[in-house]
Symmetry: C2
Subunit: 362 residues, 2 copies
């Protein structure tokens, strides 16, 4: 989706991706298959560009630090990725900067906490967690026994009213803009976002407080590019930072149809030292993640897509991943309407109608 | 812009284009450089695809007829291109189907009309006219003497109040949708559209009549895909068809930012037998054509683009053509605002600010 924007502005792009069948391959000027965690691969690739941005946190940061030293513009900065990549350093960052977050402890190995924590608690692997992977609600010793022995963060269970997100954009000149606060609703089954609702159905005061905290994180981090700030609104009306992602984010996909400047264009603006664009709402919107259906593996087939295309205000985005498997993110669908409640109703129906299955099963 | 939509839906594309530096090259799955007017080139290319669409009228139609006979889905149909490609057959089509159009005569050579027409009159080459090329207002015998000796249409000069356009989409099932009537304002200097204003500032009655005529043309033609119907609103409040284009059209670019379904997605929907999308307005919009500045030839440089990027609601689209020359269409800019008059004011300022010059001149 970033590459639509670079093409829109005739910006030349090189892409490094681990998959030979990456959908990026046909949207960039030069494509290289390679391991994002390998120092030499990232370093050599980065030497060939003027500005480098990343869309995944798990990339070789040492190579990015070296590229920065050699004058390549790397945004988000390697320093930001180093903070965010590891849940322990991320949580410590919040603590050090008085950013409200869920109370936590961190451990380097399992023996340090096993048998010593009151249940239930939230366990998060320090590394490689995303989309609900590397996260567990630990309710008893059986669940605790199943946890892998890795560095981790352990958090209190906080009663949550809503999960919110704010996308902040910041450019090198320190200009900051924020998108409207959105509301994320999760599927219990896959710990993945099911709907993102823009704008969030919360009070004006909550909007202000959430936006203020998101801007605070942005200012303290001094990142360049987007920063998606995921927040908890607790049952006590407290707002706590859950985690951040320094890149275009699922919680901002609604902006393609719903905002004056979509998040991908905004990211390009911020990393290329261009003025930031207006984040005003063009229309209320609901984003639905299109996940691979349970029980299907193989070449993806989008069952009933022609039915949802007949519904007013519905725009599917199909990512072009060849293979589906249960809960794989295969695309997203945006539903817009001048009336948010109508968009939500339509989104629920769309969600029930479309199904990503394997083509040998239809 | 069509290729953004095919990518959005993971539709595989092959592109045939006469230029090796075509911006399409990095947006499709297979690119072939070739002459669109050569039978063998078009035929062989067409044999490799399931559905073929064209974005320019001047293509080898015999090859398209042959491909249709061999089962390739060609939309717009070769028959439609044959009517539209030649201004004489196009005008005769309107006449035969009682579609209101400017009174005309047609001639096969210059000697048939030279010295016999009252001045002023409008001369249009039967073939190869577009963007004001192949069209002349002939005011006296000196101007007449300069006309080339080719088949042509001669039209009365009609006092025009506004130029309007309606984009109609029609799929194979015969479903038809229309976009809002837009208003085109022309630059006198280049006979090129300067602004497209959506929606047009005309009465409800004029909207109805213009839409009705556009739908009539669509129904009579039985095209598949988009049909851009350009209309004259005369000083007598008559509506006359000027010409049509059976493809995504400059007068529909506003729809990328301004409509629930943009014209490119709509074209893809119609040629792939998908349900048509809603054409509802998302926001009022003004489209500005970004033309090469007078007096500049060479590698294109977009002077002041960073200034217009700082203006709320402004989205430039840069087509990625390497070379600029006077009045070459280098891109377009959409300006949106909930208030149409604000969008028009902003568009005028944007137009004054940005300039496409040659990079060796800045």
């Amino acid at each position: 989706m970033l590459l639509y924007e670079t093409n829109k502005w005739d910006i030349k792009t090189h892409v490094l991706d681990p998959s030979e069948t990456s959908p990026c391959k046909y949207l960039c000027n030069y494509f290289q298959k390679g391991d994002l965690t390998d120092y030499d691969t990232v370093y050599q690739f980065g030497k060939g560009v003027e500005t480098l941005t990343v869309e995944i946190e798990h990339v070789n940061i040492e190579a990015l630090f070296q590229l920065e030293r050699e004058g390549v513009e790397v945004y988000p900065q390697a320093r930001i990725l180093a903070i965010v990549q590891n849940k322990i350093t991320q949580k410590q960052f919040y603590q050090a900067h008085n950013i409200p977050t869920v109370t936590f402890m961190n451990f380097n190995s399992k023996k340090d906490f096993e048998g010593k924590q009151a249940f239930p608690y939230i366990w998060k692997s320090a590394l490689f967690g995303y989309d609900g992977k590397g996260v567990a609600v630990v309710k008893d010793s059986t669940a605790e026994a199943r946890l892998p022995d890795v560095a981790c963060v352990i958090e209190n269970v906080v009663p949550i009213k809503k999960e919110l997100a704010v996308i902040v954009a910041r450019n090198l000149m320190g200009e900051i803009v924020t998108y409207p606060v959105v509301e994320m609703s999760f599927s219990n089954e896959a710990s993945l976002v099911e709907f993102v609702i823009s704008p969030a159905r919360i009070s004006e005061d909550t909007v202000k407080r959430a936006t203020k905290i998101a801007v605070q994180v942005s200012k303290e981090m001094q990142h360049v590019g987007l920063l998606a700030v995921e927040l908890f609104l607790t049952k006590n009306e407290e707002i706590l930072v859950n985690e951040v992602a320094p890149r275009p984010h699922n919680s901002g996909h609604f902006s393609i149809e719903g905002s004056l400047t979509n998040q991908f264009e905004q990211h390009i603006r911020s990393v290329l030292k261009l003025p930031l664009g207006s984040t005003d709402i063009k229309t209320p919107a609901v984003m639905i993640n299109l996940l691979g259906a349970k029980g299907f593996e193989g070449d993806a087939y989008y069952k009933n897509i022609e039915k949802i295309l007949a519904v007013k205000g519905v725009t599917p985005h199909i990512y072009g991943k060849k293979q589906t498997h249960p809960f794989r993110k295969m695309g997203h669908i945006t539903v817009v309407s001048p009336n948010l409640e109508t968009a939500i109703e339509t989104a629920k129906n769309v969600k029930k109608t479309i199904k990503v299955i394997a083509s040998n099963k239809y």
